[in-house]
Amino acid sequence: MTLQQSAAVRARAGRRRDPGRLMQETLMIAPAVLLLLCFLLAPFLLSFWTSMSNQPLVPRPTPVRFIGLQNFVRIFNDPAFWTSLWNVTRFTIWVLPVQCGMAFATALLLHQKIPCRNLLRGMFFLPAITSMVVVCVIWGTLFQYPSGPLNQIVGFLSAGHIQPIDWLGDPNWAMFSIVLLSAWQAYGFQMIVYLAGLQGIPDELYDAARIDGANVLQRFWHVTMPGLRPTHVFVLVITTIQAFKLYTQVAILTQGGPSGSTETVVHYMVRTGFEQQKLGYASAVSVILFVIVLVIALLQRQLLRRFDV
């Protein structure tokens, strides 16, 4: 405490003595501050203003008017928006158990004392560094209808009882297909987060449980799971936020179709903003997206606080 105070006093004295130093500090932090102001804070604040105007994408002779909350009213009256919101919710509900479950299971397997652990971890993590565009090329071929690899596997496993599925062309299947490829691409990240979480649980806890006669399942329920609570919260929140921002794979593979079954909030925003050129309207969608992300992030903070105490 006293050390800190004396350092602070000296720093303050130094500042008074030395305007050159202050100058230098300002110059060092200025690039970051300027860039953040121009490319993050400014567009962010601007999006609130634009969302309450009728601004088009390309400037027109008619002046841009302030129209209050009209854009929001129109969005909330547009069934396509609710479809997109429902779709990303649906996507989240499916992708959470698939992706996090896969990640958790692999992490548990890799946490054992097995040979070539690093090699295996590297293999499992490989899809996570693969660009989504490349993932779309790969899965675009896997999803081929009617005789692509996935349909062959399904046909083989069901001994021909299940008809080939039009993975991306059938409104009932399209979102599920997007879930599959998204989970495959991203679960490696959650896996290493879980691995880090597992490594954070002290061995003494397991030893103590073993001495108390706890079996494998009991140790899992009473040592592993409680120890991973913050990790679970983090993984769930990150995955949920990512899921709500779903865009690339949908834009490339389905363009929101068939019949709107894979339309997402971000895709809806880009479509209204750039295809229909309604910038104000699209900005209002982006504000809504921000509010959703913010709420999830705040929820995480609340949950973490509850678990950490």
Partner: protein, 294 residues
Amino acid sequence: MSDIALPHVVVAERSGKLSFRIVQTVCIFIIALIVISPLFMLLIASLKDDRFQILADMGSFRAFWVSNPTLANFKEIAHFSGELAYGRYLFNSLAILAITVASGLVVNSMAGFILAWGSLRGKVVLISLVVALYVIPQESIIMPLVVMMSRAGLTDTFAVQILPWVASPLYIFLFYQFFAQLPKELYEAAEIDGASIFRIYRSIYLPLSLPALATVSILMGIESWNQYLWPTLVTQTDYARPIAVAIATFFGQDSIYWDRAMAASVLMMLPILALYLGFQRWFVSSFVGSAVKG
């Protein structure tokens, strides 16, 4: 405990455990191979010349085997001008990545250093502002940003794909955290010796921050490499088009040239894969690092 009392039981138990381990390891390897098999399939398919054969092979084990590998697909697409200028797109992506990461390291590390050790007034406010800004997703600022950029006449340039993503709250915060946990004595000793704050940053703290530099390089690099939405909105011609956007155009055609798309995808994977194989441990720890602090 039973080691002493009943050695033969233990041996049996151990060999049982050993065989269990072997089975377990084999199982995990099989799962891992299944998981990465699509990537392997991509590589194999890119070496096949006939795009209809590629699709026909997909449903069988021939997807993992190529009898007469050829680089014809790569030769076909890796031009630097014309319709299939994937050489150029790859170069564009690499240039954008290199400049973004290099300038990002300088800008974010300097800011993080000042936040950790500077004596500026309002430092605490700045730190909490950086944390708050981290919540804003890229997707929710691009609408006004596109308009700002086109008014500034930056559409279809390299600058428009680099400038907005150089400074980032996450990376500033990662550097801030890293610098702040280095011992204070380093700073004080250098200050007593009369070193300027830039000198202290440049000659003392920066050389010590290799882990932070590696983490931020990898995260920034992957982020820049995988950008898709932003470049689709701000590039129109070949001039600065990155390879991700170019590959996506394969899907716009009526009949997809899978052979070319596969080759272009392999082209896009190679640089990252090479880096990943070289620095795997760094990659993994970087992603963990970004997560724990998130």
